[in-house]
Symmetry: C2
Subunit: 363 residues, 2 copies
């Protein structure tokens, strides 16, 4: 590894995020660290700790974050954590139940409930800083992506009390008590900004804001209730490091999610990357600033359908080539799946995808 | 009730589906018959029969189908059944498990498995015919909407063995063994066509094809693997009665779903009806026929977010008015929710919505 390659801010991944020339298309996988890897499952079984306890142990976080980098040779590491980690640090009683997801003991549905959510400045995130300081030298130049859940997705867990398909209580609260909604979303935006800031200050070279469930909203509701809070996070963070903004089922929201302040928009498998690149780059036409100067074109990330990881290799090979070809139309392309690695994915297929992307995308 | 109003083919609902002038916007609710109504839960408890047994009892089907018409005063009844009813009649071992959905004992994943799926002509659907012949006089002119699941959504249950969020096995089979996929989808299209044909012949005045999970697919996959089979169903049925074609999360598929041969496209809450009306009416521009003559403009159905049924009434009132205003841009509008009535919905809110739609949409 040359000394130039060892500077993560000059890595292929970071340059692709910025739309700069790259030697090949970089690739990483959402949820690459974790449940799909046997070495992860062994480590968790040996440690015998809950998910949240694991996230608070810098030595374990370091090892888990490194595992997929070692195994797959991906172009970026992603900080191993959970979206509820900073919320738990801010005093919300939450547990991650295996097979279910985050479960909140006392859901937030009133101003009295909101008062129980601590402030960002009171959250002790020293274990995050320590984990990243341990990680950076071991990554030997591989860039680290900082990780956080966006205010809407976090709020849905807090309001519903757990995962929800309909987000009914969340939507009823947004529309029925907008003041309480905005109060909660502002609080979560502050906590999220702090969580990302700690990661950047400790050495993360990029961040990804996961608004996994934003696709459940119409564009009108997204713009009214969600965009201002995600924008507060992204604009507070950027543009020091590239900011990736991702959600699932967001074909109708890509322009709005770009407007929130992303350098890279993550796209699920429903929208081809050439169409997505056009949608995320019309955003500035809607801004009303006087002479804002030319905006940097936005890159895209994605978007192999994770459901196809279990298809025969010829299918995967064909789809990887299609995604790369469609990504050529974007100002920058980071290869990824269209959603997280499924728990049952065969890690050997992921490794083979990394090799294929690297081989056929050489400039 | 006048004798003219008593002809269901001249009802407000059917005329709105055809884009003809109407005195007010018609309204019905997907899943209006069933789980949200106390009289339904009582009847099921008294009968002590499984869901599929209930669907095979013409007397019970008649009563359940009538319940929401009596209670809410909706402009159409929808035949009470389940999408797996015709598949079960064709010999597939399937049960509906409360709280889960359809569960298939031996999933279809090979040509040998496909051979176990019977042919449409072998399915005994006489109980459907009998139920509808009982129903029509009791409906006193209220039109009846026939009901069926589309080939993709049915195939997903058969391949996965039950409900799935990722549809991973289905997608892997489509791409990995297209011949088997198309064989299964053709078989299901025949079964679905037969199921709808029986309902139309017995007196249904419209049909709705539910492709509930189509939104999980990219447009390219939808066009390659699904559209031809849904088109086979819709084109075989129409245009004798209006055909409604519905899916969830289909912002990116509305044009393709219209092209499959719908007179009305059902839209979830993610796409405003004015945008949807434009998307479903560009479809014919893509057809390559020589002088096909002017196509009838397509109507839209939807699209109040069912998650908002639990919001304060002022919110519901505001959203109903917005949906009606956006629907004005369409050649025809049938008011509905953007997805089925949730089990926990308050029936009184649904009744109030019917009254509001009727009151404020008077021409």
């Amino acid at each position: 590894m040359t000394s130039i390659a060892a500077d993560p801010t000059d890595s292929v991944f970071v340059r692709a995020c910025r739309g700069e020339p790259v030697e090949h298309t970089p690739v990483w996988f959402m949820r690459q660290a974790g449940r799909s890897l046997p070495e992860y499952r062994e480590l968790r079984a040996e440690a015998g700790l809950s998910m949240l306890e694991t996230c608070r142990r810098p030595d374990l976080v370091t090892e888990i974050t490194l595992q997929p980098v070692r195994r797959h040779g991906v172009d970026a590491a992603v900080f191993y954590s959970d979206i509820v980690v900073p919320v738990a640090a801010a005093g919300v009683g939450v547990e991650i139940v295996a097979g279910t997801g985050p479960v909140v003991a006392e859901p937030i549905r009133s101003s009295a409930d909101l008062a129980r959510v601590g402030r960002a400045e009171d959250a002790d995130l020293s274990f995050v800083e320590e984990a990243i300081r341990l990680l950076i030298p071991k990554l030997e130049g591989t860039p680290l992506i900082g990780f956080a859940g966006a205010p809407f997705t976090l709020a849905s867990y807090l309001i519903e009390g757990g995962p929800s398909r309909s987000h009914a209580k969340t939507k009823a609260l947004m529309h029925g008590d907008p003041q309480l909604w905005h109060g909660l979303a502002e609080r979560l935006a502050e906590i999220t900004s702090t969580f990302l800031r700690v990661q950047i200050d400790a050495g993360a070279s990029a961040v990804q804001l996961f608004d996994s469930w934003a696709g459940a909203l119409s564009e009108a509701d997204y713009r009214r209730f969600v965009l201002p809070h995600s924008a507060a996070v992204l604009q507070e963070i950027g543009p020091v490091v590239p900011r990736i903004h991702f959600g699932v089922g967001t074909a109708h929201l890509l322009t709005a999610m770009a407007e929130a302040g992303a350098d890279v928009v993550g796209v699920d498998w429903r929208t081809p990357l050439d169409q997505a690149a056009a949608l995320v780059n019309v955003a500035d036409l809607r801004l009303d600033g006087s002479e804002p100067g030319p905006a940097r074109p936005r890159a895209v990330q994605g978007n192999l359908d994770p459901a196809l990881l279990s298809a025969p290799w010829e299918v995967v090979d064909h789809e990887v080539r299609r995604v790369l070809a469609e990504g050529e139309a974007a100002p920058g392309h980071v290869f990824n799946l269209g959603h997280g690695v499924p728990p049952e994915a065969d890690p050997a297929v992921l490794t083979r995808i990394v090799e294929l992307v690297h081989k056929i995308s050489v400039r």
